[in-house]
Amino acid sequence: MTAGPRHAYKYLWPALALEAAFVFAPLLLSIYYSLHKVRYFELGAMVWFGNYLDVLSHPVFLNSLQVTALFSLSALFFTFLTGFGLAFFLNRDGPMSVLLRTVVLIPYVIAMLVGSMLLKWLFSADAGLIAMANAYFSLTVPTILADPKYAMAALVANAIWRDSAFAMIMLMAGLKSIPPSLIAAARIDGAGWWMTFHRIILPLLKPAMLITMVRLLLHFANVLTFPLILTGGGPNNATDTVALRIFRVGFEDYDLGRANAMAILLCIFNVCAVMLLLAAFRKRGAVA
């Protein structure tokens, strides 16, 4: 069929224009701003990498890097593990599994803001649940969100509660792509359950596992709603993630120079992670 390049771009240009205007142009403008002193929207003197050096030597930002690393890795570990367990537990197609899949997806589907708010309420002293648990199990858990260690745990719990179902769905899609004939053949050859899992399923599931992990990591490293709503970054900056820091510096201090510098740093991290993702996709042959 005669279908030249000009034809293809006729279909693509409106979409490409929208992306250029609202994704790529902001990024370029952001780089420009990040090289200047900016105060309340007034573009000041060009300071080259001054904002970056400033940010990277600021103890509050360094703390937020540490917090983000701790949160992202813990959340990734537990969420992936829970999702992995759920994927295998609910993989069989029965009415029970289908129903339960729907149920665990509900925390993922609803607004993050609402989910985090409901958890904030449950973790607060107001709901009375903690007080009741303390009395019942004779514990002395204090107000969870006021204790640095518990607050971080609560943040991770929020991640597990919302995103395990996402990991489950991604991994189940991977499991579905394994030809059943392979597993049947292994069974005929006398492979037991563990052998089949270890030698057939796990190696074939690897690309799906990698994609799931990278997408979860990207999500956790950037998530703003969890800390903003659940803990507000406190107590004592114990849950002050990079995303939250950017939000505060940008929209509360209106220091757009530094905020843009931080956003660009976060973007560089994201681009690296996305490159890893693309490599994983290519391995699976999903990208032509």
């Binding site: 693509l12 992306e19 205007a21 609202f22 940008g250 929209f251 996709f281």
Partner: protein
């Protein structure tokens, strides 16, 4: 049944109940409590059902402007879905049916934008939107939402088009249809599952989004529902009743839609692959 089978069945059931409880407890607890009186909510020995059933919380939030927030949310969600489907179904066709120079670059950018989390773009987007006077407008929000969600729509549509037999389009072209007519009259009617999946994905994003809206909107008249709820958080403080009621207004319609059409939701999450 053998005793071991019974035992494993019981264990399975017990685990299932536990999982369901963990997922739903905060939501069901919130729903039930949204009908409670303030004193009832703050009781230290919690009870499931409201002692006195009241709609007080719901009346309170609608008096505080929730109707307007709902209207804005519906407007912005509908606008975003319309724009995404219009541009995405056409761009997806270009990607699925043509070979052209730069195709690889286009594909890679689509996946990249699909994967980059919104949060890292907030400050840059805000910086730009302030320059072009699109902050505090619903149109600005629709454009930004569409830019974020269009790549996944293109992806869903393109992968679906590739599963359709191209012969159908050839015969239509031979019969004198133009490419545009073929897309409109032959391809799109066959792509309903992909269109539904894309609609739900975009709708959920636009309905739920909080971080983009909170940075771009500050005027009360243009606020969407999540921003309304966020402001209630400061306004009502420890008065949880109205907060829970507002939360339920946001999630109940969505959960109903999700339960009814969940297989389409899942297609969007895994990035395409809708079965007809």
């Amino acid at each position: 049944m053998k005793p071991t089978q019974v035992a494993s069945g019981v264990a399975r059931l017990a685990i299932s109940v536990l999982i369901a409880a963990a997922a739903l407890l905060p939501i069901v607890w919130g729903l039930l409590s949204s009908f409670k009186t303030p004193q009832d909510i703050l009781q230290t020995t919690p009870r499931w059902l409201p002692a006195t059933f009241t709609l007080e919380n719901y009346i309170s939030i609608f008096k505080a402007g929730t109707g307007g927030y709902l209207f804005n949310s519906i407007l912005v969600s509908t606008g975003t879905v319309a724009l995404c489907l219009a541009l995405g179904s056409v761009a997806g066709y270009g990607l699925a049916r043509f070979q052209f120079p730069g195709k690889r670059a286009v594909t890679v950018s689509i996946i990249a934008v699909m994967s980059i989390p919104v949060a890292s773009l907030l400050i840059p987007t805000y910086t730009l939107m302030a320059e072009v006077a699109l902050v505090n407008t619903r149109l600005g929000l629709i454009l930004v939402y569409s830019a974020y969600q269009l790549p996944i729509v293109i992806w869903i549509m393109a992968t679906y088009y590739q599963t359709l037999p191209e012969e159908l389009e050839w015969s239509a072209l031979i019969d004198g249809y133009s490419r545009a007519q073929t897309l409109w009259k032959i391809v799109l009617p066959l792509s309903r599952p992909a269109l539904i999946a894309a609609t739900l994905f975009v709708l959920t994003f636009a309905w739920n989004d909080f971080v983009v809206a909170v940075t771009l909107l500050s005027a009360d008249s243009v606020r969407t529902l999540p921003i309304g709820i966020y402001n209630f958080l400061g306004f009502y403080g420890r008065e949880w009743g109205p907060l829970l009621a507002a939360s339920m207004v946001s999630i109940v319609p969505l959960v109903a839609l999700f339960v009814a059409l969940q297989r389409f939701f899942i297609a969007g999450m895994t990035g395409g692959g809708v079965k007809g």
